[in-house]
């Protein structure tokens, strides 16, 4: 799996409108978070925003291939709390209401602190992971 994380600079974790993912996710409501790799841009919002501790929330997101990258064949969403070495107690589901648009449901952060939100994009047998960080209070 090819994983890119904000901390290593291969992926940008930037505010809405401030990076190349600007056009990706147009129409998503609220404050848009953006992730980038060389092959994909992801724009996502959480419902509600901010994410409360101990309540299920939804992630609406768009995946935009860059350059000659093909749209992913499947998409998974998950989250973990690296400092505590645990993930969520729930396995989110992802649906796609239209091409390029996705909804992740069933997420729940059961503790405050730093959570890594991961998007796994599967294409041609390879998985690329884009990871963003949310700080939950």
């Amino acid at each position: 799996m090819n994983a890119v994380r904000g901390a290593f600079g291969a992926m940008a974790w930037c505010a809405a409108g401030a990076c190349a993912a600007q056009a990706c996710g147009e129409g998503l409501p609220g404050a848009i978070h953006a992730l980038e790799s060389s092959r994909y841009a992801i724009a996502f919002v959480t419902l509600p925003d901010p994410v409360p501790v101990g309540r299920h929330f939804v992630v609406d997101f768009a995946v935009c291939p860059r350059g000659d990258a093909k749209p992913p064949q499947s998409v998974r969403v998950d989250a973990s709390m690296p400092a505590h070495r645990h993930g969520m107690n729930y396995r989110p589901s992802v649906t796609s209401p239209r091409p390029g648009a996705y909804r992740g449901e069933g997420l729940l952060f059961h503790m405050p602190g730093r959570w890594d939100l991961t998007f796994d994009l599967v294409s041609a047998g390879a998985t690329e992971r884009l990871t963003g960080t949310l700080h939950i209070q």
């Binding site: 729930y90 589901s93 069933g106 059961h110």
Partner: protein, 394 residues
Amino acid sequence: MVRGFVPVVVLAAACVSPLGGAQSGSPPAPTPAFSDAELRRILAHGPWPPAPVRDPSNRVSGAVAAIALGRALFHDPRLSRTGTIACSTCHQSARGLADGLPRGHGLALSDRNTPGLANVGGQRWFGWDGANDNLWAQSLRPLLDPGEMGTDFGRIAATVREDAALRRQFRTAFGTEVPTDDEAAAVDIAKALAAWQETQVSPRTAFDDFRDALARGDTTAAARYPAAARRGLAIFVGAGNCGMCHGGPRFSNGEFHDVGVPFFAAPGRVDPGRYDGIRKLKASRYNLLGPFNDDATRSTAIGTRHVALEHRNYGEFKVPSLRNLTRTAPYMHNGSMQTLRDVVRHYSQLNEDRLHADGERILKPLGLDKYDVDSLVAFLETLSQPAPPPVPGR
């Protein structure tokens, strides 16, 4: 459990605490102030009580007539197989709706401590293992459990059908006669039991007064909070990081953890805890995805749809609320700790070898000194109203 950052105000407590690496046996620190981050955490433990919320899976949730029926049934021993055990036998109002015993004892000795039922409404999972995702299914469980009330659908239904007063109450509550199908009748009766339990909310406490005083910036009112409790609270929201799991107004995140309490129920017999709870939940006909949910949209079933069964769930038990705590001793899933001091000492001297090797890394021994233990106990005691005099004969 102790994370890298130590807020400035906790340093006062840490000065006398091995939490900060200092010696034990020193006198308690002056009453600490709180940092902005700690204040946010404290305020997140309220307000209390929460606004009542109807359970959409239960069509009589919040209905006055159903609450009255549920109350009557809760105290009715005829629901049990022997006619001798009511719900209130083990969930006694004078004991925080628990029984004061290490392990529950209905028709047989249980492997687990009887949880208090105060604030049981509005939770996501029910029971130490979370085997139920709604309160009416959780109410049905002890009725049918051979070791608790040991009854069956026919007896439950007949108890109401054959009693004119209960039959009338049922008609008022549900707008129909008792269903002819015994299972459907029993589920409705469980829904009435749930409606009553939802009304059982623990009262406001000294902590709530303090929290609200902080929220409105009333330093005079805040100063009434005992200094020892304030020091304990500083540990709780600071270096102790207790709020990681015991968060929110209920002082519980409603989820499940392995906290190093042995899960052998008896020699050679293990209580699998949450692992078995998830398996039972998924198999249950009475879960929120099943045919008895009154909410056609299944709006509250999101957790049931997505809960994941993992090996690490073995030996995990639900994080209990800390409200009403002084009423519900003894503590932990197996009732193995008699006092709050025992519980605090458990976390102070935690044996990490007892935690799952592949589990989460949250818990570390807190290394509390005597004053820290006293302070944390003093804080925990302010999450309950002072206990009434003991009830004779129990």
